[in-house]
Each structure stands twice: as structure tokens, then as C-alpha cells.
């Protein structure tokens, strides 16, 4: 390998003074995001719910598992039970606050794990293309072909009930979806002129992936993944509803919906509350994810 | 600036167009032009000059909610800016029509070419579907599409670039407009196809007696089709005249720069006389000569006020205070 001639540069490390700093990509994203009022509102809601879950011990007025057979199915506004009592006399407000913990966890954890595995699979398939891509992506397609609800139920049923198994089955549901997006975005980036230019400079695949592909690909995949959080929450709630997820008496919104099912004629407002919580949280995540996507969309 | 006694086909007086939004853009800043019936006016300019916006104003194709249009736009004696939705619908296609750079903008991919042309005809005239289709065939023959009967039933994606362009022209002519607007229709075409389309447009214009306003950034193209030229910069017309006058004796420094940039008379091996710098951002309406920062002849007076459009003769104007002394030698 001949010495690099024609590139006459000083070999000593030169302290590079900072020049006029451009605001940078992320501060641009933040600026655009701040302007989107809906996204900011959604972000605040999500933040409040997360804080509520973290500080549940301080916020909840009562013990969420303490039941009282005398005070079953009390309506909203009953003294001592601000949001009513459920079918076992437990304080709804406390159960909703504590329920946020599990519901959020079941929403975020499977998506996060799926993001890691799905990205690796998808980016590799997208970058290397050819037979490797075909083999990987068609395998992914097999799983993708199942409707997510059915697949989640089937997997949960096979693995058994419980939080850990629910998370596992949801992760398996989401990995193919993320892998598909990852592969698609990576394929686009791979054929971009700047990647060709990098190859023309003599860079190897590893360097190209690290410098050029990851930075442009992880963003869109991440945004897509955040849009799955609400889906994950709803699926997890569905699994709990069917008895395949959380076990009673642990407060979790989906489970609460299940156990309050029969109370819908007696105390409809109370029975609907966990559903409202799921609705608000998942919509906020959705709007947040939309706002992130718009903010990251740099117009040239 | 017309000296003819007949009513001009197009009369734009002091038209301004401003886009509101995250940033305000003053795209057109006081454009006045006229077009006689049956004549071709070429508008020459680069990106950001406002030439496409000017064209779209004639058809009210700009987004209504965030556009402020000022001035007067008269086409065939009608006040375009005052039309309501029904009048506008009758006006578009039948009085004024437009062809674009990208035929995909005008041709719907899910309908055949024949269907689209026939639809345009029946929207303006009460004739049967069969008669409309026959007229569509005539139009395809008019634009010299090979095998026109087959093309009637073809979808846009089944045709090559040049044929799509011809189909778009046929579509634009379907309702026999008096004014044809052309927004860089040949920019994306190969050289041998471009000249075919230019010749076709010239011939159609002659045969049908249409007025044409042709927007382009390529001087050669403008020379081939236009009778008169208007050069636009930063939303204003900086020079007008016949093609001969502008080519042989350009007065405005920007026109001279454009001609040099088109390698008009360039000597190989010598440096091109490139215009330095870049066009201004159009966030504010201009209060002085927009070209002065890039102009090699700029004087202090150029920065004080907007140069007025000086008349140098019959339909010959220049927006440059240096031209006050009459026609300067080239």
C-alpha cells in the first residue's frame, strides 16, 4: 500500500478553533417542535402522566388494593372516593394513578426492545441488500402477515399469562414492523448520492454505516417506533382484558376495564374511566410522535 | 406601454404578489405588462425572479388563503382578480390555459389521454361525448402525436416524455383558449425533443392566433419562440423590448449579465463575465434597485430609490437610472 502522497498536511495535532457555530440539527428540531402547539401540548400531557406514574406514592390518596365490600361501585364525587369506587370498593383515582405505571411500562418496554432488535435486522438487510435482504425480509414478512392483535394473543396464550410474557409477545409483534421501516429507510439512504460519494472516496461499509447511514436512519425509525407506543399500550390493555396479561389485583388500565365490564350498566362513568385514561395517553403519544416527525423533517 | 390602438389581450398594471406564512415573501413587486392578441411574449428570468408567480396570477392558481394580490389583471377585457368561482371556472381553459414543465402536473395518471381531453372540452361546450372524443382526436393530430388513435386510449405513463408534453399541449388547447401560458415547458426535455416542441408551439400559435406568454430561463429558447421579451429580476420587470433589441443592444446590466452567462459571445478560455453574488431574499418589498448590490455599474443613487421604468421608444423599457440618457451603446 503506497504511502498517502499528495495529501500534504501537518502531522501534528492542530487545535481547531470553533468557528461560527450553526445552531445545529437538534436545536433546529427543538425550535420547530416548540412552534407546534398541538405537539407541545401532547408532550406536556405525556410528561404529566409519566410524573404521575413516578410519584404515584405521593399522589394517590388511598391504597389502590384496599377493597371495601361496603363501598362497591360508588359514583364519581363520592366523599373519600373522588373518582368513584370500583367493583371491589377500591378507590378509582388511586388505581388509575398507580395503573399508569404498568400501562406506561407495557407501552414503552416492548417498543424499546423491538426498536433495538428491529433496527439491527432492518438496517443490515437494507444496507447489504441482495440475497441476504431477501432471506431476512421474507422471514420478517411471515410474522408481519399476522394481524398484530391475533399474533399477540396467540403468543401470550402459548407463553402463558403475566407481565413478562406479555412484554415478550408484544416485542415479537413489533420487531417485524420496525424491521420493515428500518429496511425501507436504509435502502433509500443507501442509494443516495452522498453514500455513493462516500464509497467513491474509498470508505468501507463499516465507516459508511457509522458516519452516513445511522445518523440519517435512526431518526425516522425512532419516530415510527414512538407511534407504536400507543398501539402497544392498547394491545397490552387488550391482553390484560382477556386475562392474558396482568393479574389482579395489580392496577393496570386494561385489566381495570375488564373487571369493570359488568358495572357498565350500574356505574357507566366509573367503568369508562380506565378507557378514558388509555385514550388520552395513547392519543398524546401519537400526537407527540407526529410532532416529532414534522420537526425532524428538514426542508432543504 | 402598448402603442397599438386595439385592446391588448393581457394588461397587467402594477401587480404585486405577497405570500404570507412563516416568512413573508414579496414574490412580485409591481409588474406591468401588456400582450397584443396573437403575439408571443417571452419572460426571461432565473429562479426567484417571480416569473412563474406572474404567470400563475393570470390564472389565479396561487393559494388564496395566504396570497395577497394587488394591482390590476385584465385578460380579454375581463378583470381576473374580481372573478368569482363560477366565472373563474369558465375562464380557465376557455380563455386562458397553461402548460407546465412537468406533464405529470397536468395529466391525471388514472385516466386515458383521450378521456382527459374530452372532459376538458365538455366542461366548456355542450357537445356529446362522442363528438368530444372526435375533437380530442383532432387535437392529438394537431400536436403531431404519432399514431393519434392509439394515443387516445393510452395512459400518460405509457408515453414517452416528448409525447406526454404534446398530450399536455393538446389538453391545454382543448377549449380553444385565446391566451396560452407556458411555464418552462421544455426545460426538462432532451435537446432534440425540445426543438420539436418549440417549433410545434410556434406553429400552433400562428395557426390558432393565440397570444402566448412563455416563461423560461434559457435565452436560446426565448429567442426561438418570442416576438418580445421581458426580463424579470427580484419580482420586477427590468427590461422589455423586441428580441432583436434585447439581444443586440441590452441596456440593463442584468440583461447583459444573463446574456454573458448564456455564453452568448463567450470566448473559449477566457473567464466568463459572471454576475457575482446571489438574488436578494424577498422578505421586504424593494425600496431601491434590487440588482444594485451585484451590479458593476452601481452608483450611490441606485441605493436611494426604486428606478422607474424608463421608456426608450416603442414598447422598450428599462428599469435603470443609467439609461436616462437615452439608448446607450451596447
Amino acid at each position: 500500500m503506497t504511502a498517502v502522497t499528495g495529501l500534504d498536511v501537518p502531522k501534528t495535532a492542530v487545535a481547531v478553533p470553533p468557528l461560527l457555530k450553526s445552531p445545529g440539527y437538534w436545536s433546529g428540531v427543538w425550535r420547530r417542535f416548540k412552534r407546534d402547539k398541538v405537539a407541545v401540548a401532547a408532550g406536556i400531557v405525556v410528561l404529566l402522566i409519566v410524573l404521575m406514574a413516578i410519584f404515584a406514592d405521593y399522589l394517590a390518596p388511598a391504597d389502590p388494593t384496599r377493597s371495601s365490600m361496603l363501598r362497591r361501585l360508588r359514583p364519581i364525587g363520592t366523599p373519600g372516593y373522588p373518582l368513584g369506587a370500583d367493583e371491589l370498593g377500591r378507590d378509582m383515582l388511586s388505581r388509575l394513578i398507580y395503573g399508569a405505571r404498568l400501562s406506561l411500562f407495557m407501552g414503552v418496554a416492548p417498543v424499546f426492545i423491538a426498536f433495538v432488535f428491529g433496527s439491527v435486522i432492518g438496517i443490515a438487510a437494507g444496507f447489504f441488500g441482495g440475497r441476504f435482504n431477501t432471506v431476512v425480509m421474507r422471514t420478517v414478512d411471515v410474522f408481519y402477515a399476522f394481524p398484530s392483535v391475533l399474533l399477540a394473543i396467540a403468543l401470550s396464550g402459548a407463553l402463558g399469562a403475566g407481565i413478562f410474557n406479555s412484554i415478550l409477545s408484544l416485542t415479537i409483534v413489533f420487531i417485524p414492523q420496525i424491521a420493515r421501516i428500518a429496511e425501507s429507510v436504509t435502502t433509500q439512504v443507501r442509494s443516495a448520492d452522498y453514500v455513493e460519494a462516500a464509497r467513491a472516496s474509498g470508505a468501507g461499509s463499516g465507516t459508511i454505516i457509522k458516519v452516513h447511514v445511522l445518523g440519517n436512519v435512526l431518526g425516522p425509525i425512532f419516530v415510527y417506533a414512538t407511534s407504536l407506543i400507543s398501539v402497544s399500550m392498547i394491545l397490552a390493555s387488550g391482553l390484560s382484558f382477556l386475562g392474558l396479561g396482568t393479574k389482579p389485583p395489580t392496577p393496570e388500565w386494561g385489566l381495570m376495564l375488564n373487571t369493570l365490564r359488568t358495572a357498565i350498566y350500574v356505574q357507566p362513568w366509573v367503568a369508562a374511566l380506565p378507557g378514558v385514561a388509555i385514550f388520552i395517553t395513547s392519543i398524546s403519544f401519537n400526537l407527540l410522535s407526529d410532532g416529532l416527525r414534522s420537526a425532524m423533517d428538514v426542508k432543504g | 406601454m402598448s402603442t397599438s390602438s386595439s385592446t391588448p389581450l393581457v394588461a397587467m398594471e402594477n401587480v404585486t404578489v405577497r405570500f404570507r406564512g412563516a416568512q413573508t415573501v414579496h414574490a412580485v413587486n409591481g409588474v406591468s405588462l401588456t400582450l397584443e392578441p396573437g403575439k408571443v411574449l417571452g419572460i426571461l428570468g432565473e429562479s426567484g425572479s417571480g416569473k412563474s408567480v406572474t404567470l400563475k396570477t393570470l390564472l389565479r392558481l396561487l393559494p388564496e388563503s395566504r396570497t395577497d394580490i394587488g394591482g390590476k389583471v385584465m385578460v380579454d377585457g375581463r378583470d381576473v382578480l374580481a372573478m368569482n368561482a363560477a366565472e373563474l371556472s369558465a375562464y380557465r381553459g376557455a380563455v386562458t390555459s397553461m402548460i407546465f414543465q412537468d406533464p405529470a402536473l397536468a395529466l391525471d395518471p388514472v385516466y386515458t389521454v383521450g378521456q382527459q381531453i374530452a372532459e376538458s372540452i365538455t366542461r366548456h361546450e355542450k357537445i356529446s361525448a362522442k363528438a368530444a372524443m372526435a375533437r380530442a382526436l383532432e387535437l392529438l393530430e394537431l400536436v403531431r402525436i404519432p399514431s393519434p388513435e392509439r394515443r387516445l386510449k393510452a395512459y400518460p405513463h405509457e408515453m414517452s416524455g416528448g409525447m406526454r408534453q404534446r398530450a399536455m399541449i393538446a389538453l391545454a388547447l382543448a377549449a380553444r383558449p385565446k391566451l396560452l401560458l407556458a411555464d418552462e415547458p421544455t426545460t426538462a426535455l432532451d435537446a432534440t425533443v425540445q426543438i420539436q416542441i418549440l417549433l410545434l408551439l410556434r406553429q400552433l400559435q400562428r395557426d390558432l392566433g393565440m397570444g402566448v406568454i412563455f416563461v423560461t430561463h434559457d435565452i436560446g429558447v426565448a429567442v426561438e419562440v418570442s416576438d418580445r421579451l421581458a426580463v424579470m429580476y427580484a419580482g420586477q420587470i427590468v427590461e422589455t423590448g423586441t428580441v432583436r433589441e434585447l439581444l443586440r443592444n441590452p441596456q440593463h446590466p442584468y440583461t447583459k449579465g444573463l446574456l454573458a452567462a448564456n455564453l452568448h459571445g463567450a470566448k473559449k478560455g477566457e473567464r466568463l463575465e459572471a454576475i457575482p453574488g446571489a438574488p436578494p431574499a424577498l422578505n421586504e418589498p424593494p425600496s431601491s434597485c434590487s440588482f444594485a448590490p451585484r451590479c458593476r455599474y452601481a452608483e450611490p443613487a441606485c441605493g436611494t430609490a426604486l428606478p422607474p421604468a424608463l421608456s426608450l421608444g416603442d414598447a422598450r423599457t428599462v428599469r435603470c437610472i443609467r439609461a436616462e440618457a437615452g439608448l446607450q451603446p451596447a
Binding site: M1, V4, T5, G6, L7, D8, V9, P10, K11, A13, V14, A15, V16, L19, L20, S22, Y25, A192, D193, Y194, E196, A197, R199, A200, S201, G202, A203, G204, T207, V211, H212, G215, N216, V298, G300 | S47, S160, G161, D190, A191, T192, V193, I195, Q196, L198, L199, D218, I219, G220, V223, E224, G257, L258, A261, L263, K268, L272, E273, A274, A278
Partner: protein, 348 residues
């Protein structure tokens, strides 16, 4: 600090006589489904002399962009040889990585050519870092190059591509191409997407850089005026083949191939009293799937005869120009069977 970019004499291994680039019978086909093949580049022969600018012209489907990519080895050729300064590219004599230091390319789309997540200086510095130059030194070099192409580093180095105009981005791309100190720069429609006034600025810049760094250019463009202005020799391509190649002024004044004639006369006239009256060619440029037999231009050629449909004309030197001009047309090949061909020199 002086920026030593260009070739030291030690790098000129082939000497003045060896062309910097030689393409021999380059062929690249792209298979489509169902047996059809896009014959994008078919047996292309040409060379580029040191220090010259070779213009390449042709319309859609002619294969000029594919040829550029094969020359850069972004796509490997199916058949044919590529020699750089006398050494075969991709062999032990000249590894691909070494070749890539010496041959660089500027693309048409100035925005797509730059990683939107990297600052300008990082983009320009990337190439040298791949070849072992330490990051700080590469950044320093990048800033000097930015200054050379007319972008003040203090204002531009830390910016992102979307903050620059098209002309500025193209200057960055040129700086990026020069960062490795190449000897050959391929410009694939590099100025086509720019406004005319910006294009003129960039053309001036290219001429200056060529002068200063002793560069050799391959300039691909559809704009015949620009090609005439910047090139020393011109190569005309049609449907994957070279149809004519020669010194620019000779070729423009006296085109020999019927397609070259058509292409040149298709240029809009700049004289309002002398407008074009007739289109030189009818129809659109064909696509290179299943090109015609024999001479690929014969279906559209006004002088086509039987031999043209049967025999492919070789690219041969015309008799008068001492080998400087080569044309692939039976009308120029002695004894080809075309009624207009010159007679064979009969042996005494």
C-alpha cells in the same frame, strides 16, 4: 500553510504520453425481469489525456451517466478494461482504494450529494479521514478548500447543507471532490441544476481550479454551449455507444456523424432573424432495451442504407484529421458498402 493538493511529479507514473484514463470496450448491462436487458453501455472506448477536459454529450438513455459510474467503479463493468495512468484499476498495480484517491466525482444533485446530518466541513473532511489523515488535520484542510472554492470558512464551515443555496452546495461538492488531491475529476451534469448566473460563477471556478491543481476533467452535460466552452475534446454518445469523438472546435464546426449533426442543429438559435425552421430529428430518444441491430441510429438516420441495418460501424479515425477525430458511421468507413463511403485505397 501552503496547501499541496496536486500531483507531485513522482505521481505521474505513465509520463506525458500516457493518457490519464483509458476505457477499453467498457460494457455494462442491467438485467430486467423476464430476460430483457438494458444495454446501458456497450463497448465504449475512449481515453482522456493528462490536463485536458473531455466533454461528454448525449441525450437520455445514451449511457453517459452509467459510463461515469463505471469509470468511478461505483458500478463494476461487465466487460472491458479501465486503465488509469497506464495501470489497470482494481488490480495489484493499482488498488481500488488508491484509485479512488486519484479519481473523484461531482454529481448533479447538489443537495442529495451531501449528508444532511454532517456539517459542511465534516463532509469535506470525510474523504481524507478514510485514508488515514487525522481528524483535526482533515478539518483544517477542509477549511482551506472551502476558502479556495469561494466559501468563507468562518461563515460556512459549521453550517448544514440545507442552509446553503444550490450554487453554494455545488461549491462544497467540488471542495469535497478535491479533498483527496485527485488528478481526475468527473463532473456529471454538475452545473445543470444551477441558475445560469450561478453556473457561470461555478464554471469560472472550475477553470481556475483546473489551472491551479493541474486537474483533468471529464465534463458530462446536455448543454452543448457549456461543453463547447469548457472542453478540449468532445465525445458524443448515443444509446450506449460512442458515435463521435474529437477536438471540440472541429467537431462543432464540422460534425461528421448524422446524430451529432442533429444534436448540434437542435440547439436553439440565438439569432431572431434566423430561427430554426425544422426539427432535425423526429421522436424521442429510444431506450436502450433491445437496441436496433447494426448501427443503433439507423432507424432515425436520414442517410440510412441496407448496410447500416446489418453491420455495426466501428469507431474509426477519419482520414483527414490524423486520428484526432473518430466517427462510428458507415459513410466515413472506406469500403463499408454505403454509397457515400470513401473508396478503398487500392493497392498500387
Amino acid at each position: 500553510m501552503t496547501l499541496t493538493l496536486y500531483v507531485e511529479d513522482a505521481q505521474d507514473r505513465g509520463g506525458a504520453g500516457t493518457p490519464l484514463l483509458q476505457a477499453k470496450a467498457l460494457t455494462k448491462h442491467f438485467p430486467l425481469g423476464g430476460g430483457a436487458v438494458v444495454r446501458a453501455v456497450d463497448g465504449v472506448d475512449f481515453s482522456v489525456l493528462k490536463g485536458e477536459t473531455l466533454g461528454v454529450v448525449g441525450e437520455s438513455g445514451c449511457g453517459k451517466s452509467t459510463t461515469a459510474r463505471v469509470v468511478m467503479q461505483l458500478i463494476p463493468q461487465d466487460k472491458g478494461e479501465l486503465l488509469f495512468d497506464g495501470e489497470a484499476v482494481g488490480t495489484r498495480a493499482l488498488s481500488l482504494k488508491d484509485y479512488r484517491r486519484q479519481a473523484q466525482m461531482v454529481f448533479q444533485d447538489s443537495y442529495a450529494s451531501l449528508n444532511p446530518r454532517l456539517t459542511i466541513e465534516d463532509s469535506v473532511a470525510f474523504g481524507p479521514t478514510v485514508h488515514g489523515v487525522p481528524k483535526a488535520a482533515a478539518i483544517e484542510r477542509a477549511r482551506e478548500l472551502l476558502a479556495k472554492v469561494g466559501l468563507d470558512p468562518a461563515r460556512f464551515a459549521a453550517r448544514y447543507p440545507h442552509e446553503l443555496s444550490g450554487g453554494q452546495r455545488q461549491r462544497v461538492n467540488i471542495a469535497r471532490a478535491l479533498a483527496l488531491g485527485p488528478r481526475l475529476v468527473i463532473l456529471d451534469e454538475a452545473v445543470s441544476a444551477l441558475d445560469k448566473s450561478v453556473e457561470a460563477q461555478v464554471l469560472n471556478l472550475l477553470a481556475d481550479l483546473r489551472e491551479e491543481f493541474g486537474l483533468t476533467y471529464v465534463f458530462i452535460s446536455h448543454d452543448l454551449n457549456v461543453v463547447r466552452f469548457i472542453s478540449d475534446r468532445v465525445m458524443v454518445m448515443y444509446l450506449g455507444e460512442v458515435v463521435e469523438i474529437g477536438p471540440v472546435e472541429d467537431l462543432y464546426d464540422d460534425p461528421r456523424h448524422p446524430y451529432t449533426r442533429a444534436l448540434l442543429s437542435a440547439m436553439p438559435s440565438m439569432d431572431p432573424d434566423n430561427r430554426t425552421m425544422e426539427a432535425p430529428l423526429a421522436g424521442d430518444p429510444p431506450n436502450p432495451i433491445n437496441p436496433p441491430e447494426g448501427c443503433r441510429f439507423h432507424p432515425r438516420c436520414p442517410h440510412a442504407q441496407t448496410v447500416c441495418a446489418k453491420v455495426k460501424p466501428a469507431l474509426v479515425a477519419t482520414s483527414d484529421a490524423e486520428g484526432a477525430r473518430r466517427v462510428a458511421c458507415h459513410m466515413e468507413i472506406a469500403g463499408s458498402g454505403h454509397s457515400r463511403a470513401p473508396a478503398l485505397e487500392s493497392a498500387a
